[in-house]
Assembly symmetry: C4
Homo-oligomer: 220 residues x 4
């Protein structure tokens, strides 16, 4: 019980600094990729900021692991935390957690189960797509024979990919660009499948509740 | 109980006018986009009709919200109504509701849960696709380098997009056209996922019932 | 109880003739479309055979409806039969039914629920795809600017469409070809979604059973 | 009970040899296809090794079938084993089984139901994709008018196909290449649908557990 409360206190104290660090990480990465005119020293600053915030997340994860006293079992029971550690671009999800923490102080969590899955998976997919568009743009925009030339193209390509529509008007041609695309498909389609599945379950739930309500009303 | 019956009476009285207004809205928007030869005054009439009917829906939503006396809780518990308010092109769904209201007077609702989800989500997807085709046609048909030239092309493009097949023989090239396409994917794929999921569940239900019936018959 | 046994007897007596008629129907349609060198009289024979078998199915449906004495309720409770009546190219499914009827005489049906859904929906999708390929080939192979030139092309196009991959190396360009394609997407994707969903459920069931068995074995 | 323990002992004794044979099979096939400069005798060795290991699997299947004393019922109740026998390129899944067998000795299996389905179906899809890429590369890379020229192209094409994105920048043009592609779609999409579905279910489970834990914590 003592350890539990230790971990709780740690979590509460680090909530806001980590949320700020998450936004810093994403901002530094995006600036590094998109701002072409940036002088070299500033570009180095961006890299340092990104690495520093990543180190911060690793420290936070290690401290919480240590506190839990669970050994390897922790990795399995906190699968989501581990995944987020390995994919730092999903970090800004912390902001969602912050939003929930604020809600907790005003009573119950506001969102139903399906809505929470949709929000988490949907936001993860959006952030994954944003970082994927950044990475593909970085490796494709100057490659010979490439057709993804602007960041707008990269975003459009990401949307057609994540929706599995895949018009093929734009497609990566470099090795790294295709690797990023494969990673994007593997992660993004799972996440969006979860969003679609939850939306479907939620819709069925809404219709079931409406049917019950109507039946009840019919009895009066 | 008094408020409940107030809301009920409001709902019953506004059912038919709102269904008519929904069709007016869609008709005005479609005429505005498709009828190229229409003189300017008539085009303005279309815009005015569309805005007026939208205002009507907002008033209806506000009145029902007020009547419920639930505050912000109403927005959450009537999620479908709120969504439909924000996407006025989904309005003609009112006609489905009218059909159901007529059925209610003759006893129970006729459709099973899965069938109702399929009908609602499927019709929503059809209407979304129709309005998406309208919007894409409007922004693409005169753009340089565009390949969506006729409304028939736009409808075909919409079908290949919503089914996620995405041949790529036609694809939007303008900024607004791509924005509409992304919105169409985001909403449409969720809705069609719900249709496919419900169809699958319904099919399993049909086979379960048939198996039970056969077993029962086998016993006699 | 008397009506039930009447319907049963009718069903048993018509089982084999209807299965033969189903194959005749598909054969006549396919011959009509694929055999270019066929003299006109034979082509007319094919059309007559197809229409005659369709009429046969309609008569069978009407007789069973009449026997059930259920009125419109019959249409709803026998949804699958009604669907098959409207899409005669799904008729050869009768053969699956015949196979099941044979199995019934040797005790219980052999296939589990999910396997039956997979077999029915999968076979329906295959037959739908075959007839879709026939129809698209018929309308595209001689059209100016078309790229679906042989029946092999049409089959390949059908597979890329039903899997929603949609490379776009082949795509219909005529109005009727696109209409058929839209129908194929609407029906086929629902059916294949049911196959995928059932396969997924079946796999989870297999793993659950295996886990139980292993656990049990572990206890000994 | 005696038969059961016989089968158990057989399974335990053949576990490691079969896992090695599986890797041999895949290695021989891949070498045969990818190593162009290999002299003819070595190519023949590869074919012989592949056929010999396949024969080994057939013998193992036959022995276990015989031991079970179940007749045809065995084929149905061990569906996964039968499938793996018919698609020898899925054989390396044995390695997953080996990993599980090792875990079994240290107590319970470590992975939850959904995680196990994801690992099995996901690994199967990866191996299926790898062998599909090999086969398509073999038949396409020297065909006139083909655009899949290197093994890297084949892998990229496989990923865009299995994710159903299908850009169409690369697509098979030969008869055999298209046949392999159709088989890849039919098997791969089912497997990946199972992965996506299990991931979705797992995510909902994680959120349910987290919600329960939080509620519990809130009560203290």
């Amino acid at each position: 019980m003592e350890d539990q409360s230790h971990e709780e206190r740690w979590r509460q104290r680090t909530e806001i600094p980590l949320a700020v660090a998450s936004l810093l990480f994403l901002g530094a990465y995006a600036t590094r990729v998109l701002a072409h005119g940036l002088p070299q020293p500033w570009r180095d600053v961006c890299v340092v900021v990104a690495l520093a915030t990543w180190a911060l997340f690793a420290v936070d994860y290690a401290v919480r692991w240590r506190m839990s006293g669970l050994g390897l079992k922790y990795v399995r029971t906190h699968g989501l935390d581990t995944l987020v550690l390995l994919l730092p671009l999903l970090r800004p999800l912390r902001v969602v957690r912050l939003y929930e923490a604020v809600q907790m102080r005003h009573g119950e969590p506001r969102l139903t189960l399906y809505a929470r899955v949709m929000v988490y998976a949907g936001l993860s997919a959006v952030l994954l797509g944003f970082s994927g568009a950044l990475a593909v743009y970085q490796h494709e925009h100057a490659a010979p024979g490439a057709n993804i030339r602007t960041f707008g193209d990269a975003v459009w390509w990401t949307c057609t990919t994540l929706s599995t529509v895949g018009y093929g008007d734009l497609a990566p041609v470099t090795f790294v660009g295709r690797l990023v695309a494969i990673g994007l498909m593997a992660c993004g389609l799972g996440l969006l499948g979860a969003v679609t599945g939850s939306f479907s379950s939620w819709l069925i739930q809404v219709f079931t509740l409406e049917g019950d309500k109507r039946e009840q009303r019919g009895r009066h």
